[in-house]
Point group: C2
Chain length 765, copies 2
Amino acid sequence: MKMIKKSVLALLMGVGLGLGAASSAVAQQSLEDVMKARGLTQKDLLAAAKTYTPTGGRDEYLAFSSGGQSGHVIVYGVPSMRILKYIAVFTPEPWQGYGFDDESKAVLAQGNIDGKQILMGDTHHPAFSETEGEYNGKYLFINDKANPRIAVIDLHDFETKQIVANPFFKSAHGGAFVTPNTEYIMDAAQYAAPYGDGFVPVEEFNAKYRGGLTYWKFDMKAGKIKPEDSFTFEMPPYSQDLSDAGKKASAGWGFTNSFCSERYVGGIERGRPPFEAGCSQKDTDFLHVTNWKKAAELVAAGKVKKVNGSYLITMDQAVKEGLLYLIPEPKSPHGVDVSPDGTHIIVSGKLDSHAWVYSWEKIQKAINDKKFEGKDPYGIPIIAMKDALHTQVQVGLGPLHTQYDAKECVVYTSIYVDSMVTKWNYCEGKVLDQLHIHYNIGHLVAMEGDSVSPDGKYLVSLNKLAIDRFNPVGPLHPQNHQLIDISGDKMQLLYDMPLPLGEPHYVVAIKADKLKPVIRYKSGWDSRADKRSPWKTRAGREKVVREGNTVHVYGTLIRSHITPEIIEVEEGDTVSIHLTNLERAQDETHGFAMFGQNVNLSVEPGKTVSYTFKADKAGVYPYYCTEFCSALHLEMQGYLLVKPKGYKATDVVMEEGQKYTEADYKKQVKTNIDTQAVIDSVVKFITSHNYKDFPTVVALVEDATEQLGFAEEWKKKAEASAAKGDFQNATLQAGQWWQYQVKTADLGLRAKTYLEENGAKKVSK
Amino acid sequence: MKMIKKSVLALLMGVGLGLGAASSAVAQQSLEDVMKARGLTQKDLLAAAKTYTPTGGRDEYLAFSSGGQSGHVIVYGVPSMRILKYIAVFTPEPWQGYGFDDESKAVLAQGNIDGKQILMGDTHHPAFSETEGEYNGKYLFINDKANPRIAVIDLHDFETKQIVANPFFKSAHGGAFVTPNTEYIMDAAQYAAPYGDGFVPVEEFNAKYRGGLTYWKFDMKAGKIKPEDSFTFEMPPYSQDLSDAGKKASAGWGFTNSFCSERYVGGIERGRPPFEAGCSQKDTDFLHVTNWKKAAELVAAGKVKKVNGSYLITMDQAVKEGLLYLIPEPKSPHGVDVSPDGTHIIVSGKLDSHAWVYSWEKIQKAINDKKFEGKDPYGIPIIAMKDALHTQVQVGLGPLHTQYDAKECVVYTSIYVDSMVTKWNYCEGKVLDQLHIHYNIGHLVAMEGDSVSPDGKYLVSLNKLAIDRFNPVGPLHPQNHQLIDISGDKMQLLYDMPLPLGEPHYVVAIKADKLKPVIRYKSGWDSRADKRSPWKTRAGREKVVREGNTVHVYGTLIRSHITPEIIEVEEGDTVSIHLTNLERAQDETHGFAMFGQNVNLSVEPGKTVSYTFKADKAGVYPYYCTEFCSALHLEMQGYLLVKPKGYKATDVVMEEGQKYTEADYKKQVKTNIDTQAVIDSVVKFITSHNYKDFPTVVALVEDATEQLGFAEEWKKKAEASAAKGDFQNATLQAGQWWQYQVKTADLGLRAKTYLEENGAKKVSK
């Protein structure tokens, strides 16, 4: 029988296997053969070349998509169209530990409605934080329509940090849209409802049901929405929908569209035609124009009253102060999109075939001249369409949402009924190109499309329920995001990307190099509160502290053990386990799950997380690391022992399953010495090359050095036990010494391979 | 101002826009330009051609991946590496309504542990149901390690139908693996624990902690695991790990490996070396060989006793009956993989550098000859390594899991520490090729790799925590599945696919054409119970039924309204909303969310789902459809009105927001007549072509015909109201008539476009 540890050594020394031989593998088939076999055209091949990203390649843009009713935010790369992350926002998600650890539970609890836990969200429109109208890469905001809330995601670690619930609304589809310096985040109500608690008969809809628009105050430095400084416009029950903030020429103003300005209340079960009939009867709805800058000044001047703790600008006050105006817009519109220079606003209605282009100059003139065609039933002045419109352009049946190109005057509008994208010129009112897509297009997104300087280049068409684009996967179909090349005169379809979870509504895309996420946390970090955790624990300082019936476990995680490995508590105790990941290596995330306790924690390097639960039943509860973190990952385990109340310990002494002798110890030590020689040779290789020029290798070397330090510690322990003649422990400790050597060798080998593959050079000393 | 409805008509008639002009768009850049700009090599281009799948293309294989601690199963296509679906299994997921509707809550509740809700899972190893060792495409099984459970996913609709919890274990990493005709699903314990409830000191580990292996009985016809017919092998506390069922030559037997056969108990906090040291000290662990066929016969013959309601084969009985044997295996192994013909078994250990190939013939001979080298401390016979081994092959440092090729004797082993895949010949014991991957490879999967006739072609390497393969997305990295072409002599890396959610452990891949999922349910279907729902509701039969304090709402969904639109209940009532999707069109899934009630339902065509909650607070609760289902989707809304107890209705009468006159009615009717003319012209186009040759178009035409029927109904209502002089209702009803016409036209246009794009021919009559 072969000596196993010996063979490991042989491999460590690079004996025998001709590693790297595969790298000279040559393409055995011609491109033509492959194209023929897979039925690809030249056009397909060009599209493939425009999207295919070889291993290690980077995408030029990162797209952040709402996850619809999954409650998440989805991050994918453009042009590779590979999905990189689902960020949990409104819905608990165990892989991320979101909604399982105490810290993220506190974030989710901020979104409780009437004290009730809400464990889902219907996310719709993400928006980046902006500085002078440019995406600054710091934060992402996303709304929940079902329960009117806004969440703040920190792009330095891609985690959800805050959720705020609207103080007035019972629905909010029309968020999030930011003002040019992220002073405010706009969020409009959708389905009108009475403000505050309590029942109001639907017969009193006109008089007591209200829409509205909240401007959430954002503090960029703190990275937090400040509800106490936010304000809401009371609005008529018109089903306010999407918004866009004015920019440059129109900075300081906001634009919000609406549908069902008929104020129709359905009731098909009582013989009334349904909402859909009554809400689409008029030819026009209302574009709402709000002066947020002046409103903010009134708030600052103490001229706006708080209702239930929140600033509310009533319709009367808004009219009196000149803060709110209405303009007719095409019926049942969806998008309202301000041009990069702020001079024009495009609105299109799903039941109209035109996109309407408004002129901000004209609107401003009408406001300044107080030239109105009348008032709505709530006294709000209405600007006549002819006094606001620049032009109307026939773009197709069911136009929905518009994105701006880098090219002047060029825009793209999604056309729902015709299932196409129309490229047109809004200055001249001329259609330039049309491209069929598959099918049911909703929003679309161009690169940095909502900023003051859109990049153009790519467009993504967000199509719903792809019935025939992919292999079938049951009655619930994936969505389909189609990537379109818009760099030339004609649009070119490049790629179909299925969405495997959720129904995205809107996407924003940012230059990837604007994002510089951290790769690890400061040691002992509470990532949700973004500060040092009071429960942080350093190596060697692990402890269990009882406070009355609560047992606090200050634990640590490092490959490949959890400290403590045995936790003993009594039935009825509240157990609070605080775990700090001691690792510095960026891929050494550890997890934590326990039988019967409904928990998974994700503990990235540096992070401290907590899990608190009641040990309500005596028993044995295995726990373990849930991230595959090293070769000995499965052995990263422990037991929670819950003893019955008043349990008296027995006198049973632990019997070792396996006994070790001096010979075992010596054999292990011999292996360790041989292993060290291998490590030394790898170290020699690395240090004889310009490894410091490779940050990846520097990180590996730092990690390896740390692992080797641990090996040294256990070497000392082993030698001390051996000196006392305790060969049972000496052997096990020498085994642990070897474990750290293997981890060191693993890292060293990885570093060596990296240097070889990336053309490192020998350095002379 | 332009007449809006007129312009819709113009478009419907194809006036003006030159639809389809874009289809002649030509590639404006050469392939060489693109390759240069994106830094692609010829090898990259070949890989792109092998993976890129143009719009509407299909993948040859579907891969089903565990989602790790996300608790889901992930479905993706090979070779496009596009993720098609996350199937919710152990974790609630609102997009699918899983864990929100009553029906799926009942499935999740089957997995309760000690009566406690578990809202996560740590999924590891999926397996397809098999017939004679071939994947039959009917069911997928997946285990939860954290709380030992197995779930059954029905591949006819990609939904989770059953969860069973292990009656003995407190951990189970080693599932799911099926026997050749899916008689049983194997699931092995991992962390030993006392069977049953209650506390047992860890000092009594050897005597009272147990591992084990459950054979879950599966009924293919019912699609259900039968816990009452399943049985479990009691096993020593050896941390049993993965299994594989014997096949062909070895059919009737099962193979299960283990680690920590040292039976070491850690306790680093009390000065003991950690588990990782004591669990990896010996050079070998034990491969467990079980005779399930004979065990099943004993069960059938009434010779196995039930413990707590479940059959348990004790170690004594297993030894006595010749059901269980041990064979030394390389230390800390992960995979155990039986060759397609059942003659060989390959095991590799993460701390060894060899893969060990066992000969079933030799093992069988030793068993028949009763030739053992001894017994373990629990009396289980041990077969000597030399009496079982075919060969040992040095494959690399940290070998983990092996997959079989279609080519005879060729296998692929994932090599963890060296981060590579080794291709070797297990008959001759010879390494053939090696390929570096990035990094931390765990399992790998070849196409139909676990069946009796593997397809080869592609291999997917499941790599953990991709620190440098993709754009960074914060401290928690995506996993990386690398697609490898194994059709030639040399392996070729084709594609890096990030996993955006969860940490997959194992994947199985099936020929896509073996799956024929349904596209809709029978009307009124409870998909979780797979039978007609008692709450099904037909169109026109919607009703609200009060039973004491419970209000049952029998509702329906159809584009674009929910019936009922107003639901009135009293504070304190239990409300049970039952919704049937009346649609037949396959992309007409509707959703349902309500303010403040923590609910999203996904109601695919035909499905009936229920949501039961307590209306514990008086108020107004908007609800709406959460799937973008038509142009009037946002108007698919309603209100739950919860009246205070003892509320007396006021005499306020609904005041209409918008009043309509005879002129409004006539205008609407004129529009409708014009619209009908357009529909007629589209119908003429379709029926004058061979549309019946296109199933997609036939489905669209059926749907359009149904919509037009609805239009006809509302036409009659409108005319009746007009005849009575009720122009308010007549106008709204005519509006609804038009809504159905627009839906008809939408479908008709889509059908027409499809025919144009797919070369339909004119038919002569």
